[in-house]
């Protein structure tokens, strides 16, 4: 899957998804609650956007137990990082064009 650099990626066409990727670009594994706090999102809202990005193979999921409590963390895949960088390049290009 190759994106032309001036084309915005539809998968990132939402504030929460952009936020998710931003956080995962600079952190290894981030758990659900931390993401929720950072992005100021509700459980259901965040979960649905995570699903969408997971479906694109842009993020991967790790489920584990901390004590007896389940803990789910997320990381950006190489594909996701590349797609997000292309998206940022495209945003930059759009800004330049309209100067």
């Amino acid at each position: 899957m190759k994106h032309i650099s001036t084309q915005l990626n539809k998968a990132f066409d939402h504030r929460i998804r952009l936020g998710l990727m931003s956080v995962l670009m600079v952190n290894d594994w981030v758990d659900f609650n931390t993401l929720k706090e950072l992005l100021d999102a509700t459980d259901g809202n965040l979960a649905s956007h995570i699903k969408a990005l997971e479906a694109e193979n842009y993020i991967e999921v790790k489920k584990q137990f901390i004590g007896r409590r389940p803990n789910t963390s997320y990381a950006a895949t190489e594909l996701g990082k590349k797609a997000f960088n292309d998206h940022l390049d495209a945003l930059e290009q759009l800004l330049k064009q309209r100067d």
């Binding site: 931003s22 956080v23 670009m25 952190n27 981030v30 931390t34 950072l38 930059e92 800004l95």
Partner: protein, 219 residues
């Protein structure tokens, strides 16, 4: 078209802010540095008064007095340990206070995974340094304690700077350089210690306060 351009700018700004907030402890307040510096200078002043010497006095080295074991009826080692502990608790207390206050004002949480990571990275060189200094005391090599605290503290700051404001890295390097200078100028250990933990903290704290907080705090 202008509105859409503004939208893109806003998007990019939000991405940048999220990357920063999620990976760095940005609530660190410059006031913490200033007050840590004041505590350190007070501690150093107490040491000078207790030992009855003046800064840069080349006739009496502070460690030659320490070698006497007791001074003014107090065990000298005990005096230094208590003096250092008061400085440490005071500096940590004001650090936590001002950073928590800043985080609250900006509506951010103080205790999150980034804070924990920062503290762990800070703690590793600090614990090593603490134990190292204890072995120096064990070997009666008291003169090296002041330079060693500077070097290890500097290394801890450089190590932790990845997770907080970038200015901390430069502060760390300055502390390391000062510690190495103190190793060459053994007689001025106390002066170097006061400069590193006192003056440098105040200078960097003021710089950071000026750079990041001046406008925000007033609102």
């Amino acid at each position: 078209m202008a509105a859409s351009k503004q939208q893109h700018i806003d998007t990019l700004q939000e991405i940048r802010s999220l990357m920063e907030r999620s990976s760095r402890f940005i609530s660190l307040s410059g006031l913490s540095g200033i007050f840590a510096g004041i505590w350190a200078l007070a501690g150093a002043t107490a040491a000078y008064f207790y030992l009855d010497i003046m800064p840069f006095d080349q006739n009496t080295f502070y460690y030659s007095i320490i070698d006497q074991g007791r001074h003014r009826g107090i065990n000298i080692l005990q005096f230094f340990v208590i003096d250092a502990l008061i400085v440490l608790v005071g500096a940590l207390g004001s650090g936590v206070y001002f950073s928590t206050r800043r985080a609250k004002r900006r509506g951010q949480k103080i205790w999150d995974p980034v804070t924990r990571r920062l503290l762990v990275e800070l703690a590793i060189p600090l614990f090593a340094g603490g134990l190292f200094c204890l072995t120096l005391l064990y070997h009666d090599a008291l003169v090296f304690v002041a330079p060693a605290t500077l070097v290890f503290y500097g290394l801890a700051l450089v190590n932790a700077s990845k997770y907080t404001l970038p200015d901390i890295r430069l502060l760390g390097i300055s502390e390391i350089v000062l510690g190495l200078i103190a190793m060459l100028r053994i007689g001025n250990g106390l002066e170097c210690w006061a400069a590193g933990f006192g003056l440098l903290h105040i200078i960097y704290g003021a710089m950071m306060y000026y750079k990041y907080e001046r406008n925000v705090t007033r609102s």
